[in-house]
């Protein structure tokens, strides 16, 4: 399961970030394993996605969101 699969309002814990082109920046922006993310918004056609992590709001494209594996508590 990835962030892209989460519905608006649901929270999950990050398991891992797929190594890839943008993994590093996602990582540095606080999307690290063990952190809790909450999906707060989705734009038209479900892309991009706004999430809350480390108490701030972050906007991601679906592609990036689907590189972040999560598990629902």
């Amino acid at each position: 399961m990835t962030i892209a699969d989460l519905h608006i309002g649901s929270s999950a814990t990050i398991v891992s970030v797929d190594p890839g082109l943008h993994a590093m920046r996602l990582n540095e922006m606080g999307l690290v394993s063990g952190e809790t993310v909450t999906v707060t918004k989705k734009a038209l056609w479900g892309d991009p996605i706004e999430v809350k992590v480390m108490n701030y709001q972050l906007c991601l494209r679906k592609d990036e969101a689907s590189a972040i594996k999560v598990t629902i508590k």
Partner: protein, 726 residues
């Protein structure tokens, strides 16, 4: 023995004595870095450029104590020292002292958003490894209580091991305290404290390799640089290292890559682990729900409603640009008209000089300065929307509509701005972090139909479309012309991004900053800087080119031309009509007129005669010039506007030598299409050249737009002919 004479200090405010110290302001974006910079340095700031680096650099002067000054450098906001955008690279290189033309800062002033501590501390943990003293300024402390956060400042200072101080730009005492703290840190040698890097960031084996790298390089490397080299190559560092050192590091890197037991991700995770521990010790959050803000945000970013609101906001911005700018533009035009007239009458005995000054210089420069009110209003709006946090939401909404072209939501503002004028639009592309995405945005923005095209459309539509097809189709044509640029721009962006530049798909990872009330001081500095740059630098290029165009339209000026016209038109009694005929005759044999006749075969397949060709050639500096040029050619005097009935009648009556009319709706549409797409604005080209610091791309912009205009007008005209229109 010589006695040293007392020297007068040069009052060059920004020439820096060797012993003056530099403080670099660093921090994540949206942490109030500019606010802090502006309130510390006030008006004593300027924009500097690092040679070879395409990022502007704000440098200010800060008086720390009586007679003790230092330089304050505002580095671009960055999330990490491992840079992904040109902005972040400059910040990282400046901090490490790897910019050859600039000295390394003596102290880092890190802005940390108190409401977003954990993520902000990530950068701190990196900065603690660069061997520079750090002072932490906690910003947004004024909203801590509202956000339900209580923070133990002393505890945080202890955890970080560096001076940590709350900062609120609205509170004078807080600005003073920061100033005093910085003074204490810089005065006297060695009193500034180096941060103690957090423990347990590097796994033991990695730590050993990092220390080996540091030990075995002649050039001192910071711990952060050494650790980064362990996992990634670094071109800048490889230039300062010896070749055998580079090879040795490559070997160590290969060893680690094979092991796969440690990764850079792991190091990042450890940094956040440390940050989490610190936060858990010093921060308490009570769940205050900001229901009102959340409700407003839900509406503003609603997938349908939000788009509608965004379009409404943009409509208001453009309405403001048109209506508010008009009186100011009229005023500027009046002033330049008055100057031009006065110069003309003062120099009545020297007609060449009078024409150079009033038509060439004053007319040319005036046609640029007239855009200044639009620039100011647009930039004020953009600064306002950005500082309030709304622009990030708009980008979130727009991203989906642009993503297929490889552009992202950030491109939307420059493109929208370009509907008023491409110059502020191109300048607004600075908000884009990626150089290639910014390049594409800058290259397509001038295709948006700007306000200078409007008079051309209005003249041609009211003269040739409305009389034949009626008001409905006239309005539709105007709308279609405005849509044409956008329709062409999006596939072009796709082509540039996906096929030519191969813009890497960049992470559209955009922070959504909390809504905030913008600070007037920040807005004012941004608007002022944009206006100043526009006036000074684009103005100098315009000035030079205006003289060239004037020269081409004025010379050669053989008095025999005038005598010939007078001789041929002895029956003409009206002095004005005769004067117009003389002007037209001079234009016809001027270099510009000859150029038009010479180039006419090129434009013949588009349906244009030599006079239209002259109009097009003369309109390359500024597209609306075609109206004045046609006015001169059709002997109605150069003082015409799009409402000029005389010009309309003459254009409708104009015939080829064989008696066919020059203009038809088909020719008029072909001409409008040409104007919609052609790069006929030297201010835009100059601005693009300046913004991209590349003459090549500015030239590319000119040629691709002109080529596109030609092809579209050609295909349209020929298809029209084939379908039986004439």
């Amino acid at each position: 023995m010589k006695t040293r004479a007392p020297q007068l200090l040069k009052r060059d405010d920004f020439r820096r004595p060797a012993n003056r110290k530099t403080i670099a302001v660093v921090g994540n974006p949206n942490t109030g870095k500019s606010t802090l910079f502006n309130s510390l340095s006030g008006a004593r700031q300027r924009i500097a450029n690092y040679p070879g680096v395409t990022v502007d650099q704000k440098v200010g002067r800060l008086e720390l104590a009586e007679g003790f000054e230092c330089d304050l450098v505002d580095l671009p906001g960055s999330y990490s020292l491992k840079a992904i955008s040109p902005d972040e690279q400059v910040a990282a290189d400046a901090i490490m002292g790897r910019i050859a033309s600039a000295r390394r800062p003596d102290l880092l002033l890190l802005t940390v958003d108190a409401t977003n501590l954990q993520r902000n501390l990530f950068l701190f943990s990196q900065l603690s490894e660069v061997g520079l003293p750090v002072v932490v300024a906690l910003t947004m402390v004024d909203v801590l209580a509202d956000s339900g956060i209580s923070l133990n400042l002393e505890g945080l200072q202890k955890e970080l091991g560096v001076p940590t101080i709350g900062f609120d730009a609205r509170d004078r005492a807080s600005v003073e305290n920061l100033r005093k703290l910085l003074a204490r840190q810089l005065q006297g040698s060695g009193s500034a404290r180096l941060p103690k890097p957090p423990a347990n960031i590097y796994p033991p084996g990695v730590k050993k390799s990092v220390e080996d790298i540091i030990k075995n390089t002649a050039t001192p490397l910071t711990r952060f640089e050494a650790a980064s080299l362990l996992f990634y190559q670094n071109n800048i560092l490889e230039q300062v290292l010896k070749p055998d050192e580079v090879n040795a590091i490559d070997e160590i890197r290969k060893k680690w890559q094979k092991k796969a037991s440690a990764s850079y991700e792991q190091i990042n995770n450890n940094r956040y682990k440390w940050a989490r521990t610190v936060v858990s010790k010093v921060e308490k959050r009570s769940g205050v729900s900001q229901t009102l803000v959340n409700k407003i945000d839900a509406i503003l970013t609603h997938k349908v409603l939000g788009l509608g609101i965004f379009i409404g906001v943009m409509y208001l911005v453009f309405q403001a640009i048109y209506t508010w700018a008009t009186p100011l533009m009229d005023g500027i035009e009046w002033v330049f008209g008055y100057l031009s007239e006065s110069a003309g009458s003062a120099l009545v005995d020297m007609p060449t000089l009078a024409s150079l000054i009033s038509d060439g210089i004053i007319g040319g420069v005036g046609s640029v300065v007239v855009f200044l009110p639009q620039i100011i209003i647009l930039f004020a709006f953009i600064a306002l929307l950005e500082a309030s946090g709304y622009l990030s939401r708009a980008s979130f909404l727009m991203d989906g509509l642009l993503s297929w072209t490889g552009l992202n939501g950030r491109s939307f503002i420059p493109m929208l701005s370009s509907f008023a004028c491409a110059i502020p639009g191109v300048m607004a592309a600075r908000v884009m972090p990626d150089a290639r995405a910014r390049l594409t945005t800058i290259l397509i923005s001038p295709l948006m139909s700007c306000s200078a095209r409007l008079p051309v459309y209005l003249l041609l539509i009211s003269t040739f479309v409305e009389p034949v097809f009626g008001v409905f189709w006239a309005g539709f044509t105007l709308f279609a012309m405005h849509g044409l640029g956008l329709v062409v721009a999006l596939p072009l962006a796709w082509l540039l991004n996906k096929r030519i530049l191969r813009t890497p798909s960049l992470p559209f990872v955009l922070e959504m900053p909390p809504y905030r009330l913008p600070r007037m001081q920040n807005l004012w500095y941004r608007v002022f800087e944009a206006a100043r740059k526009f006036t000074v630098r684009a103005g100098t290029i315009i000035f030079a080119l205006s003289i060239v165009i004037w020269f081409l339209s004025y010379f050669p000026r053989d008095a025999s031309v005038e005598q010939q016209v007078r001789a041929q038109n002895q029956q003409v009694t009206s002095a004005v009509e005769l004067e117009n005929k003389i002007t037209a005759a001079y234009l016809e044999q001027s270099y510009l007129g000859r150029m038009g006749k010479f180039l006419q075969p090129v434009f013949a397949p588009l349906g244009y005669d030599w006079k239209i060709t002259v109009g097009i050639v003369g309109a390359f500096p500024a597209r609306e010039v075609i109206i004045a040029t046609l006015g001169i050619i059709y002997n109605v005097g150069s003082d015409v506007d799009e409402e000029s009935g005389a010009l309309k009648e003459k254009m409708q009556a104009a015939t080829h030598e064989d008696g066919r009319p020059v203009y038809s709706p088909l020719v008029a549409l072909s001409l409008m299409i040409f104007f919609a797409l052609c790069a006929q604005c030297m201010s835009t080209i100059a601005t693009v050249q300046r913004e991209l610091k590349s003459t090549r791309w500015a030239a590319f912009l000119f040629f691709y737009m002109t080529g596109l205009a030609y092809v579209f007008a050609l295909v349209f005209y020929q298809a029209g002919l084939a379908l039986g229109f004439s």
